[in-house]
Amino acid sequence: MPILCPSCNGELPEWLLRTKRTETLCPNCYTALTIELFPALFRRPETIDVQNLALAEGEACCYEHATKRAVSFCNHCGRFLCALCEVEIAGAIWCPACLESNQGVALPRALEKRRTLYDSVALALSIWPVALLYPVIITAPTAIYLSIRHWKTPSSLIPRKKWRFAAALTIACAELVLIALLVVAGVAGMHQAHGVVVR
């Protein structure tokens, strides 16, 4: 893959890439660039020996490719895999089907692409609707539900404390108590207005 200038997307000429670290200007757009090169750039792509892949008499074949020799098996479903099909992730061998369907096993951390931060959602649900007052009737119970439901759900790959859940729970509970008090006060006021004595 050629090295491109981030500003103009023009391919940087070879004479600029003769040093490990270069501070220069892009010859096309004159943007100041610092380019660092690493040995992987000069590495030739690995070639697979087709002769070794071919199935010989008495050997196990790949589940997906009947003419290819099996070299390993999937750690999750046990299928035999050829060199083309095996995928090694964090020390475990996966077959393409298991990898795609994530069959019966939790997705390894090394494959996770996205996580929802339920603690932030719960906290936002407990705080922001206060400005509009009425939505609190719905959002406070939702925040409590989310906090309890996802208390043990792993929140983020990077360090993150659970104080948001605790804060969301506390605020949402306080909101519900306030709403209950307001309702009671309102009912009492209505009774008083109608001349009913509330004991």
């Binding site: 040093t19 996205r114 931060l117």
Partner: protein
Amino acid sequence: MKGRAEFPYTKLPGTLRGFVRRASLWEGPDHLLSVTGTRFAEEYRRFYYRDIESIVSQKCARAGSFGLWIVHVLACVVLGSIAAASPFPWSLGILACFLLLVLIFRLIGCLRYSCRCYIQTAVSRKELPSLLRTWSTEKALKRIRSRIEEAQGALPEEVGSLQEEVVTAVPASAKPSLGKPRSAGIRLATLAFLLLLANAAECFCSLRLASYASSEVWARVRDILLVYGEGTCIVLALLCIYRWRTFRGLRNVLFGCLGFVAAEVWFSLNFRNVYAAWVKEMHVVPHFYQAWHWVLATIGSVAGVLAIGGLILLFLKRDTYRRGDLSTN
């Protein structure tokens, strides 16, 4: 110990913190983890040390979080206003000044010390959004570099021309041989902008002096010297830098200044006599005096904007101009 095993990542310098958008970079045992996302979700991208081919950082102005800018400016304005109206302005005034100083430093950081960093593997090229200031980028890259070198080893021997040291120049064959030094052009442009600034100051001073009149010979001489000095400097600067594409921005500003000076000369030649004829009545007839007042204010403002804009451009692009070795056409 459990916590460390659970989170095998170490935070790298540089974080993008906005009201909605966030980004950070984490150093893992065999890969870099770029975390981007909103307040409610995170997205992860892994770059394995063994796969990283290059890291390109582009120096450019970056604002960061716009929300923080708005809050910061609002805080300055509100605190300043309260301090001005307060009977004890010092307490809040000092805080407002401090916030203003921080704002200025942030502005300088955004304009001068910001960058975009891109990481390239064999199959992709992605931006690292958390690395937006040059100092954090340097620190982060220092740590990443050692990890990559551990994973990838030394550079291959067949790439014999690779050197260890940092180079700032380009091969001699690629250097243009245009002969004339660029610094002369930059100096002349700076002088032109300073003269424009003096012109603006002179215009605004004239507004305040009621006795200003064209009959004052020294004032006419000063005007002529300023205008022709500006014009000469601009033309010479343009001649010096015209062939360098690196100076496109400066060239456009200088052309703007030249247009302004031409308009000013034309205006002076045509209207100076009218002004001289009416100058006595100006103090008597209010709308003539007002019109002349606005003409001077406009000239001063335009000259000031051009001069300050040009000087800011020179300041911001000084590295580019200094290293403009590649500008061949």
